[in-house]
Amino acid sequence: MSVPLTLLGLLEREPSHGYDLKRDYDAFFGRGKPLPYGQVYATLGRLARDGKVVAGEAEPGDGPERKRYVITEAGVTEFETWLTEPVAPEPTLQTVLFTKVVLALMLGRDAGQYLDTQRAAHMRRMRELTELRRTGALVDALLADHGLFHLEADLRWIDLTAARLDALAEAVRP
């Protein structure tokens, strides 16, 4: 799960304070593991250093820091590149697939196209594993089976999600 890229995605939606970013991150992606404030500001600091975001002037108010962050052109490019690339089809990456779909829907991007590209990448990996299963030793076949069942589970999720994109989009858009 990539915190910097997810924060960039949330900033692509609209310029935000660190507090807003944390709140939305926790609501959509935290899943019971809230992002510590320290990590939010450290991440924003690194993104600013690398020219992916710029911080506005400190605003008066209560609380630790009141700066509004704005994504830069370089930040948008990095985020867009990440968003459109399929994740390497390995087990345990479900959370990244999930994050990409939710962000794409939130930003009005083509989540269906992303899911199609991901499905093709998954199928390609399944073909490789099927070939390994056919031609390899028993131990290889056993490992290939393990991978195949996990990828199949991902694909079922991809299909189900693709079938419900409209309803999901309504649920995540402000």
């Binding site: 093709a120 199928m123 079938a163």
Partner: protein, 228 residues
């Protein structure tokens, strides 16, 4: 390049209900193509159009460069008999015939003499692990055995294209994979193109590539250039 079998922008409605809405799909000689998609997406209807079982309302279906959607029923029937093989979800063996007669059926329908047809059918039993079952009737075969008999029947006449509609749908996963292994192996050996309709990714992974049918339209996606 001319594809061996191709559907171009085909439309088909059953009454008021559209089943295909501009589907295009092509398979080359010797290729194994999986057609995937959710239930009701139109994938079986697309296969039936490609195989000349149904004719589309609009669009073209070509086999070996020639249009087949404009042929009459008798010509399409001859084409299905002489050039195409079929395997369906439930073997659909003829219950009154023995397993070897079922395998020989396409040859008998092509006008091959009975002894020659049976002689050609018999080697398939060893090839597909069906030794000793030649004289059984379909009621005396397990699901996996019956499906292998159906597979032999689909391939015995050396068709140019084998159409397989959910061929493992009624089998458990291990038996299903044995059937897929045999189907793809035998088809590749004799250079038969396979158009395989399935909703199961593990079955589709035996194909060279896949096309996804959604809402009556087919898309072929390539994962080339994608991180492995």
């Amino acid at each position: 390049m001319t594809h061996l079998i191709e559907a171009r922008d085909i439309h088909l409605a059953f009454g008021e209900t559209p089943a295909l809405r501009g589907a295009s799909l092509a398979a080359d000689a010797g290729e194994v193509l999986a057609v995937m998609g959710p239930s009701g997406s139109g994938k079986s209807t697309l296969l039936h159009c490609l195989a000349g079982i149904l004719t589309p309302d609009a669009g073209e279906v070509r086999f070996d460069g020639e249009r087949i959607d404009t042929l009459g029923e008798a010509q399409r029937s001859a084409l299905r008999r002489d050039r195409f093989g079929f395997v369906f979800q439930f073997g659909q063996l003829v219950p009154e015939l023995t397993a070897e007669e079922n395998v020989a059926l396409p040859l008998l329908l092509n006008g091959t003499r009975r002894t020659a047809a049976l002689a050609e059918a018999r080697p398939w039993f060893a090839r597909l692990g069906l030794d000793g079952l030649e004289r059984r009737r379909s009621g005396e075969l397990s699901g996996g055995q019956a499906q292998r008999v159906a597979l032999a029947r689909g391939l015995v006449a050396r068709p140019r294209v084998l159409f397989a509609d959910e061929p493992t749908g009624a089998l458990d996963s291990l038996t299903g994979e044995q059937v897929m292994e045999l189907m793809v192996g035998a088809a590749r050996e004799q250079g038969t193109t396979v158009v395989l309709v399935t909703h199961e990714p593990r079955v589709a992974a035996y194909a060279d590539r896949e096309s996804v049918v959604r809402d009556g339209r087919a898309t072929s996606l390539s994962a080339e250039g994608v991180a492995p």
